[in-house]
């Protein structure tokens, strides 16, 4: 732990420190506004600190955490959504009876857990981050212990999340038993050299179970609607956005670093999950009359869409998923924000009846809600449309046509229930005059900001896209600096077909373009390398360079290998170029 390590961990430390500070403040004086203010201030400072730590990344902080641009990008998203949740909570809990100060401690801790997740590069930090998040969430879900529903939701969440953690842990144990390492990047390398991988894939599948539970994708989705319904609205917003974003970010990093998604069986599993989620989520929402449950089902479907892009693989997938996550986060926060500001002290405004003719009573809120729903449905000029378009393009470039068709059909079904809510919003107002409680200025401001963001990035997404393309993609593709040292060692251990992750060497020079080599580039193994990418392979006596122009026209040399050694080993080796990190060499001959 050097000074630079600590500096690069600054956002995490800040959040942890804020949670302590808030706790101490509570011990001295219970005051809702003060606590909320401290929390919000801490989150804002942490958000800004992300910018200040940029010079110190990428950096490995012990084996557990990796702070890179990718992590920072996602941390930004997470802290921003926590900020929105904190503001919404202030309004929501101000009306409630009882103590609400602890919630902010829990919120901060949950945020910390999310941040650990996106920065984790080790199964252990993955597990610890997840559990910090989960345990905070149990208490947050059941926070309104006066309400039966809240308690019920908390209990369900606790039991199910606990068992999913057990599955996850068991899976990790299997992976560890097989490979003897728990670092993501070494998982790939180790799986390349180990001959029998009996535990690895089952372990991965159990890990998928754990992740799938947290992401609420079918068939692990059953808990979602109940917990969404029972939890206080701002907490639901947090579960739906920050926690899922963090876990999906981790999913991307874990699988793209370890290269596990290239395994046929794992790929099949993901495809099944994606299809099942899209179908189940959209169908279940159809005739649902509880808005929170509709949003729950819709989030299941949305993660199905994201998984479509995820299975497509490639740079495009990372971009598409990241953009989708941002769009989804903004939209969902907005939608739950509307639910929050309409809720009162006795119950949440979650019945469809509560929204009957809302437009005629509160046009602005109804307008915001409409925009959010349109974005969820993927109507042009919102981020939702672009996100879906991006996912479709990612899928199309990887020629996953059947998935795309399902995506399109199910989103058409999805349109129905979004429109149903919108129709309700604009239909005639019911006779009874519901009491209108004022919207706190801060939450109104936050909602307006979210709406503005949604439309702004829907029309002018270029800055966001650029940020994602610059930050998210290369970081996932980046491998550990130490990896190149290990290459020769891994070549040394023979026996059976193996896979090897090679170091990416950006900007390497081509030395020789004429020599004949024993490698055959096979491009059709590259899921997601869209029509725009052009690759060429050249080799010299010592090294092989694979040069590739990406879609933006940036030139990158993908990897460097000790060629002579390979040739001596096996003249029929095949170079498989994966467009992301996992440029693999697999020996197929013998």
């Amino acid at each position: 732990m050097t000074r630079a390590d600590c500096l690069s961990l600054f956002p995490l430390i800040l959040i942890a420190g804020t949670s302590m500070l808030v706790m101490v403040a509570i011990a001295f004086r219970r005051h809702h506004t003060l606590t909320a203010g401290l929390t919000i201030a801490g989150l804002v400072i942490a958000f800004m600190s992300i910018l200040t730590v940029t010079p110190y990344v990428p950096r490995h902080v012990t084996a557990l955490l990796i702070m890179d641009h990718y992590a920072l990008l996602y941390m930004g998203v997470i802290i921003a959504s926590a900020l929105v949740v904190a503001v919404l909570s202030y309004q929501y809990f101000e009306q409630q009876e009882g103590h609400h100060e602890e919630l902010y401690v829990l919120l901060l801790l949950a945020t910390l857990g999310c941040m650990v997740l996106v920065a984790s590069s080790h199964l252990m930090s993955f597990f610890l981050g997840l559990e910090i998040l989960s345990i905070s969430l149990y208490a947050m879900v059941a926070y309104l212990k006066e309400r039966k529903q809240s308690l019920e939701a908390g209990m369900k969440y606790l039991v199910l999340a606990g068992s999913s953690s057990a599955f996850l842990l068991f899976g990790m144990a299997l992976v560890y038993a097989d490979l003897g390492t728990m670092e993501f990047s070494r998982v790939a390398a180790a799986s390349a050299v180990t001959s029998h991988l009996a535990f690895l894939i089952p372990g991965i599948v159990l890990i998928i179970t754990g992740i799938g539970f947290k992401l609420a994708v079918a068939p692990f989705h059953l808990w979602t609607p109940d917990v969404y319904e029972g939890a206080p609205a701002p907490v639901t917003a947090f579960i739906a956005t920050a926690s899922k974003t963090a876990i999906f970010a981790l999913l991307l990093r874990f699988f793209y670093h370890s290269g596990m998604h290239q395994y046929r069986a794992v790929y099949v599993v993901f495809v099944i999950i994606a299809v099942a989620s899209m179908i189940a989520g959209n169908l279940l929402a159809l005739w649902q009359t509880n808005v929170k449950r509709i949003l729950a089902y819709s989030s299941i479907a949305h993660f199905g869409y994201m998984l479509v892009a995820f299975t497509a693989g490639g740079n495009m997938a990372v971009e598409a998923v990241t953009f989708y996550l941002v769009a989804y986060t903004v939209t969902t926060l907005g939608a739950f924000g509307v639910v929050t500001v309409l809720s009162n002290s006795s119950r949440d405004a979650d019945r469809l009846d509560d929204y009957q003719g809302l437009f005629w009573r509160r046009p602005l809120i109804a307008g915001i809600f409409t925009v959010m729903l349109l974005s969820l449905a993927g109507i042009p000029a919102t981020m939702g449309f672009l996100a879906k378009f991006y996912v479709l393009t990612a899928g199309a470039s990887a020629t996953k046509w059947s998935l795309i068709i399902i995506l399109v059909i199910t989103s058409a079904i999805g349109l129905f229930y979004y429109l149903r809510i919108i129709v309700t919003l604009y239909s005639a107002s019911p006779e009874r005059e519901a009491s209108i409680q004022p919207v706190v200025l801060a939450s109104g401001f936050v909602l307006a900001l979210l709406t503005a963001l949604l439309i702004w990035f829907g029309v002018y997404p270029a800055p966001l896209l650029e940020m994602i393309q610059i930050n998210a993609v290369p970081s996932v593709a980046e491998l550990l600096p130490s990896e190149s040292d290990k290459l020769s060692r891994h070549f040394g251990s023979g026996g059976g077909p193996f896979r090897l992750t090679a170091k990416l060497d950006f900007g390497a020079r081509i030395e020789d373009t004429t020599s004949d080599h024993g490698f055959e580039p096979c491009y059709d193994h590259t899921p997601g390398s869209g029509g725009g990418a052009r690759s060429s392979i050249t080799s010299t006596q010592e090294r092989t360079y694979v040069e590739r122009k990406d879609l933006c026209g940036r030139q990158e040399s993908l990897f460097v290998l000790p060629l002579a050694y390979m040739r001596a080993q096996d003249p029929h080796a095949t170079v498989v170029i994966y467009p992301l990190a996992t440029s693999c060499v697999s020996r197929t001959g013998s």
């Binding site: 252990m124 149990y138 939701a153 606790l158 068992s163 560890y176 038993a177 029972g230």
Partner: protein, 87 residues
């Protein structure tokens, strides 16, 4: 033991039993880690077990607090009583 814990989770309706089953499952996962660690002769497996222990403690404490509240509100420890929300 993992399987047994799972069975317990699926069968027993008493919340306390459910929590105990959870403990069994976590314990089984921890056991797996320790065994795996001993296979590689590394300390990592044991450290993971430590973390699992911490997590189990935290989870159980929150869980038991919830059980108290549930009993207080629902006057029952029946898991199936917790089904106000469905559909």
């Amino acid at each position: 033991m993992f399987s047994l814990g799972l069975i317990g989770l699926l069968v027993r309706r008493d919340l306390i039993f459910v929590l105990m089953s959870l403990e069994v499952m976590l314990n089984a996962a921890g056991l797996a880690f320790v065994v795996a660690g001993s296979r590689w002769q590394q300390a990592d497996g044991q450290i993971v077990f430590l973390f699992i222990l911490a997590m189990a403690a935290a989870e159980v404490s929150v869980g038991l607090a919830l059980v108290l509240q549930v009993y207080h509100r629902f006057k029952s420890l029946d898991v199936d009583a917790l089904n106000e929300m469905r559909g």
